[in-house]
Amino acid sequence: MTRRFFLKRLGGALLTLFGVAVFVFVVLRLIPGDEITAMLGIESGTLTEVQRRALESYFGLDEPPISQFFGWLGNVMTGNLGYSMRSGVSVASLIADALPVTIELAVLSMLFGIVIGVPTGIFAATRQGKAPDVVAQSFGLIGLAIPNFVIGTFLITITASQFGYFPNAAGYVPPWEDLGLNLQQMLFPAISLGIVLAGSIMRTMRSAFLEVSTEPFVRTARGKGLSRRRVKWVVIFRNASIPVLTITGIQFGYLLGGTVVIEQIFALPGLGRLVLTAINQRELAVVQSTVLVIAAMFVIINLLVDLLYARIDPRIEIQ
């Protein structure tokens, strides 16, 4: 891996991010309504000219779009991501509060998905065609098909109604404040997201496993007198895990983008919720900067996945 490689990727990333910035900027301004109508609703019709102009100047709506765009972009480069108009809080601190929540949820969901999906996929592959395989695949399909919020709502309804248990209504606490409560609050959301992930991981694992099993080098391994176990894990699994890892990495990137509905149902103050609320409130600075941050993270994740891929598959060379 050379400096040239990194520079090339960096260049690509910056270009991507610029594209995202333009896109978000334009789309937000094409949406009907602005901060004022978002704030006041139909009451915005009651504003006098003077009031309206004052609010427009306050929200920065009176500048031409191009200067708004570059003004914002310029600020971002110097680390100023903007401010929330209503509360005056900096976008950077809003993101700093929301990001750990989303990351924690993404990581836990990922773990859950892997812990369920990988063994199930291998299990199904080693019993291909037989009843356990069919059952496992059906579960995998169901997991993929059911929307994550259905699982989430289902879990809440059962535990809250029957057992009076709903830790998420206690107000989100970060792990460093109360790890026990925090993990309880993350449990159901992580399960809801993880089950869907598990479905996809299971299928990938299974098909990769089956494919590798038919490769000639597996026969070579057996021919050397290696035990079944060793062949299964060190030879087949090690090779089959490569596509699974790449899928997992990409999924992680998506999770970081914020899983809005789950965050809404479980009252988790993550990035998804931040962006959604900001869009409804037409808090343009918040939306733009947050989306940019999410895009940046996605780009970084992609890069890490590529690096990881190169690490675990020696055939891949970083040009």
């Binding site: 009907p32 704030m39 009451e43 206690a170 309880q184 009252a267 409804n280």
Partner: protein, 545 residues
Amino acid sequence: MRNLLRGHWFPLLTLLMIVALVAAACGGSSDDESDGGTTATTVADDATTTTAGGDTTATTDTTTAPAERGNLVVGRTGDIDILDPHLATAFQSFRTLELVYDSLLGLDPDLTVVPSLAEEWSFSDDGLALTLTLREGVSFHDGSTFGSEDVVASLERILDEETGAVARSNVLGIVGITAPDAGTVVLELANQDASILASLADVNLAMLSSDAITAGTVDREPNGTGAFKWSEWKQGTSVTLGANGDYWRDGPFVDTIEFRVIPDESSILSGLRAGEVDFAPLTDPVIVLQATDPLVVYRTPALSYHVLQLNADRDVLADVKVRQAISCAVDRQEVIDSAALGEGAVTGPITIPAYRSDSDGLPCGGTRDVEKAKQLLAEAGYTDGVTLNTIVIAGEFSTATAEGEALQAQLAEAGIKLELEVLETGTYVDRWLAADFDAAVALNGGRPDPHPMYVRYWTSDGNLNPVAGYRSDGLDELMAAGQAETDTAARVAIYDQLSEELQTQSPWIWLYTGFEYRVTTDGVTGFTSMPNGSLQYLRQTSLSS
């Protein structure tokens, strides 16, 4: 090291998960918040009985409030955004700020104006001067005394155009403010205005400390005279208020109130069931109907009204017969039953309890008459029926689309075709403000006083008159008369006439008022619901374990 992990990562991962789950199970029961309150039932009973006609009369003295009275958790779907009471517009902001601040006057559950920071008031004979006597011994949370200079500073701030105060237009009639002494304020009015009292009771007219205004800290450090002090704000997550030990009324009876943001109403319901949430203002009838025992549901008819706005400025609706035809073809109760699951009451134009109008003036007397509707249409020259482009707002209130569809079905039988356009909030607002519609399914807010409620719509120079789509000299006269009339009974008569005129001319089809829902656990006592949605009686609420 790599060799050590290799082949062992799977069991290590499983171990990690198990550790996590064990930690969760062990640490889980440490719950610091919720029902630590003890018996306060005696207090609560008394508090309830004094709500009629003002709560300044002392509650019969109670057992000394117990030491730990708990944290009342209020679950709601959105957070406060603007902390400045003069600028706040969102319901969530009102509900929090009204506990931190007081205004000069207040409202009781019937929306009658009662004393608050002003103990007494009187109009001059010509009605152009309003004298307010301020309550003594009131202080702000920061310890400073409340007096006339604070009133003057607050009112001037509101009247100042640069502030951008939301309620400015309601008090534009104030042309002069004087403070003869620390305990008295005199307001000079441009004309007789009976509605000004109700306006002064609004949270947008909260009394701020003149020091705070000068220091410019109003939007960051709330400092009021209210029952609760501003304690902590985790933006987007929760606002916590602490009890004001020096509150000038009796109370409050909980140590803290925490407004907690739970974006999904069904999750709030689950929170109530789990005991994590004590109190919740809910809006969706579907959710509320699931709140069974032991949860308690308060239902109060709301001030806001569901209406099918018609745009009489459009050719197709210009003829009053067409509008009356629509009125006759509608079955209001059926709309309530199908769209709102029966959760509502048919209403006329004015929804304030004291002025509530019935079906006087309706072209078909409030009963559905499809034949009559067709007849009216024919008389207007529309034998083949009419088509109306109808905008519906998505997501703002849960029954919008259902109402639209119910009306569409009903009106179709009379040959009136509603072409429904379901729009996102921003788009809807733009079209609504521009009066770019033939009809609009709307939920409009009400006010405690009929004048501010309708002055913008039904006076010909009202700034929302284009949206109302109709005007007449008759309406202008009635609106002016209603504003000036200070005698309550006469005022009611005037507004009855106004309602009748509106029902006859039928520029809008008023449908129903829904309910303000408050759902609580059974440990919450002493709360009274208000038609305008106010949670002010949380200042008298207590938690029992």
